[in-house]
């Protein structure tokens, strides 16, 4: 049976068919759907871990314990999990372990576009790059056997266009893979220096065996066509090459680390000119050049942003067209010639940036932060949108959990007086992911800073996943609920306040108090995400008689509020009834529908 699946669902399906038993992840676009899907299979234990490091460690334990296991994360998640990864490369596995890295070229929903194939090279472990959903499923299954055959973790690297694109997939059945025996082997699993030294040799031997495997595996294949032009490519870039340059010979690499030296050498030598087309960094190109082979790649193909068939047509395509126009797709020629002009007309239109929902509990906090003109060390989540107009109340956003360290560093650089003007702002999921150690630092090293935890009771940014503070697991079962107040107190914070995020006065009072107070403080601003409660509150409306047209309410940046040229208007379909606007209106012109004389 063939079904249309996004890459992430194909991956979950492949892992399930291959007998995976344990899967762990922390959400992150574009990887989130993998665990959501695996949690739906009764044979699989799937969890949301508090962060990626824990997720990978759970998978490591499961694999050493004899079960096929998987950890999934977005590209920057692998940074968090890099510590266990580098040594896992030494210990190897027992049952198969697959690490899914979902990269985000084009930064659709990320803070950078790092190329995680380099992790495979740094750890000396195999990297697989599928080019559509069917390949995702096939490679997921193969990855488990590779992992066991070579006693290595395997990185399965997706990119947004693979993870989130649908294509047809042939479904199969699950093959139960029995638990492997667990045998105590300290020399393999206890990485004392003496044992690590021995294991590093094993890593090197394994790399050579994998390189030999790379020469013959069907994961790497040559598609011969016109031999004047050859292109080496991988992942979704392969699809762009096939679309833009239908006539050329292609070496498609499915295993992009380690590389098949002989296969590449033979291919390059068999064509007149060879190009390397890959997204982001010259990962393949640099290694191929190091073999002493002449190829052209990043000299033409951009290193920045995602690729497309048009970019391939415009870069490599126009070179090829100069001597062999019949190898280039005519359909893309107009777009390749004049893409910019048309796009520029569109660029002059008013933009439509993403924004916080009507009734978002984060909005009021940022409104107050802006009013108080504080320096805000921010973090990652829906609330990062507090950095955008009209609120613009965030000064930094580096990575998950960075708000605390950055606020602390600013204080230490500029002194305790400055600390009275700095606050850290972090979401509940992010606090549990990597905020707790930063808070401990503030306590331990005598900070006077203030941390605001925006507790909306969910991981909203990535689509409302549960976390240790929500009281539910990935499989929607009840779980103990982490108590943020108690955690802050247990870490040594004596000043902990809880306020209602919708109560602007209370939020402002708390922030004034805590920034003035000595010692570290925590303010928990609490209200569920507006998309979580299904019952709609009574909406608000503007009284025409009273509205002054002052536009104060528009400073909230609520999409339900607009200005008709003279007065403010509330769109009753969009309004969520949060009541923020009523608190900022100086003329009492806003009221709840149904209260008063309609």
């Amino acid at each position: 049976m063939r079904e249309l699946l996004i890459g992430n669902h194909a991956l979950a399906r492949g892992a399930w068919e291959a007998g995976v038993r344990v899967a762990a992840a922390y959400p992150g676009t574009p990887s989130t759907e993998i665990i959501e899907a695996l949690a739906g299979y009764p044979e699989v234990y799937a969890e949301w871990a508090p962060n990626e490091k824990v997720a990978l460690e759970v998978a490591i334990g499961a694999a050493i314990g004899g079960a096929r296991s998987l950890a999934a994360m977005k590209h920057v998640g692998v940074n968090v999990a890099a510590d266990p990864l580098m040594t896992l490369a030494y210990t190897g596995v027992n049952a198969g372990l697959v690490l899914v890295s979902a990269d985000d070229p084009g930064l659709f929903s990320s803070q950078n576009e790092q190329d995680n194939r380099f992790y495979a090279r740094m750890a000396q472990i195999p990297c697989l790059e599928p080019a559509d959903s069917q390949e995702v499923k096939d490679m997921a299954m193969l990855a488990f056997s590779l992992s066991e055959e070579f006693d290595t973790p395997v990185i399965l690297r997706l990119t947004t266009r693979i993870a989130h694109s649908y294509s047809l997939v042939e479904l199969g059945e699950r093959r139960e893979v029995p638990l492997k025996d667990y045998v105590k082997q300290p020399a393999k699993y206890v990485m004392l220096p003496a044992f690590g030294k021995v294991r590093h040799r094993v890593v090197e031997e394994r790399r050579l065996k994998l390189a030999a495997y790379a020469e013959t595996t069907p994961l790497n294949r040559v598609e011969w066509a016109d031999r004047r032009v050859g292109v080496i490519s991988s992942g979704v870039a392969y699809q762009y090459v096939k679309e833009a340059l239908p006539g050329v010979s292609v070496l498609k690499l499915g295993l992009t680390y380690p590389l098949p030296e002989k296969l590449i050498r033979d291919f390059v030598n068999a064509v007149d000119t060879c190009y390397v087309v890959e997204e982001l960094e010259p990962f393949l190109e640099d290694q191929i050049r190091a073999l002493g082979l002449a190829v052209t790649g990043k000299e033409l193909v951009p290193r920045v942003d995602e690729l497309s068939s048009v970019i391939v047509a415009r870069t490599v395509g126009s070179r090829v067209a100069a001597f062999a126009p019949e190898l280039v797709s005519p359909a893309l020629a107009p777009a390749a010639r004049a893409p910019e002009a048309a796009a520029t007309a569109a660029a002059e239109l008013p933009g439509r940036p993403p924004l916080m929902c009507p009734g978002c509990p984060h909005r009021g906090v940022f409104y107050v932060l802006k009013k108080l003109q504080l320096v805000v060390a921010g973090d990652i989540g829906c609330y990062t949108l507090g950095a955008t107009p009209p609120l613009q109340a965030m000064d930094t956003c580096i990575c998950m959990g960075a708000s605390l360290g950055v606020a602390m560093g600013m204080e230490k650089a500029r002194g305790p007086e400055f600390a009275r003007r700095v606050v850290g702002v972090i979401g509940d999921s992010t606090f549990l992911h990597s905020g707790m150690t930063g808070l401990l630092d503030m306590v331990y090293n005598g900070s006077n800073g203030t941390l605001i935890i925006l507790d909306n009771g969910t991981t909203a940014m990535t689509g409302h996943q549960d976390h240790p503070g929500t009281g539910y697991t990935a499989a929607h079962r009840h779980a103990p609920k982490a108590d943020l107040e108690q955690i802050a107190r247990a870490l040594g914070v004596q000043r902990v306040q809880v306020v209602d995020s919708y109560d602007l006065e209370a939020v402002e009072r708390a922030i004034r108090e805590e920034t003035a107070a000595a010692g570290p403080s925590v303010i928990i601003a609490r209200r569920p995400c507006a998309l979580l409660h299904k019952e709609k509150e009574a909406v608000y409306l503007v009284d025409k008689e009273n509205c002054l047209g002052c536009r104060y309410c528009l400073e909230l940046g609520c999409p339900a509020l607009s200005f008709n040229g003279e007065q403010a208007v509330i769109d009753p379909i969009q309004c969520n009834g949060c009541g923020l606007c009523i608190q900022v209106c100086p003329a009492e012109a806003i009221r709840k529908a149904g209260e008063g004389n309609e």
């Binding site: 659709f108 694109s165 439509r352």
Partner: protein, 194 residues
């Protein structure tokens, strides 16, 4: 066309149901027996931002995304988005646009103005344009959220996919309790002539 590949671009505003529309279309297109590829954007952009779903189907489809200037159909759930993505439409392609204005935040806060003659402007640029009051038709069908199915109905009539395939795709994509409303909306869209 592009080697027998049909390119459909669905554009709108986060929350308008472009993703579901893309699913129905792709399921219906799968009935043709060839390949189908669909790409949409999740995460940050979905929070009320400009969203786009790309659907491509034909005997052999490589890239999950299409090139500007190659869309056979541009289905716009909102007027400003229609204009924004118009450069994706190929010469002679069909534009289906919902005659609805959703002012983006810069307009709401007064930092920008919503262009006032978008339809007239696009009429000059596009030969085949169908303007539909999809919100109105959705309301008539019984749910304002069915705008997406009104637009799929209008598109369906212009694609070589059987009515049965569409109905199956609808039933497979929409929860049972919303099926009737969505079917009605789809039919109202189908009846729109341009």
């Amino acid at each position: 066309m592009n080697n027998g590949v049909v390119n459909v671009l669905l554009v709108g505003v986060g929350g308008q149901g472009t993703i579901l529309a893309g699913r129905v279309l792709s399921r219906a297109a799968a009935s043709l027996g060839g390949e189908v590829k669909v790409s949409d954007i999740h995460g940050m952009a979905q929070r009320g931002g400009s969203v786009v779903t790309q659907v491509r189907f034909g005997p052999r489809v490589y890239s999950p995304v299409m090139a500007p200037g190659t869309a056979d159909f541009l289905v716009a759930f909102e007027k400003l988005e229609a204009r924004r993505w118009l450069y994706y439409l190929k010469d002679g392609g069909q534009l289906i646009v919902n005659n609805q204005e959703l002012p983006p935040l810069p307009v709401l806060t007064g930092a920008a103005v919503y262009p006032d003659n978008l339809v007239a402007e696009m009429e000059k640029l596009v030969k085949n344009m169908l303007v539909i009051d999809a919100l109105d038709l959705a309301r008539r069908a019984g749910n304002v959220k069915a705008v997406n199915m009104v637009l799929m109905g209008a598109l369906a009539r212009r694609l070589p996919i059987s009515r049965e395939a569409w109905e199956e795709a609808l039933a497979a994509s929409v929860p049972d309790r919303f099926l009737e409303v969505n079917k009605k909306a789809f039919n109202l869209g189908w009846e729109q002539n341009g």
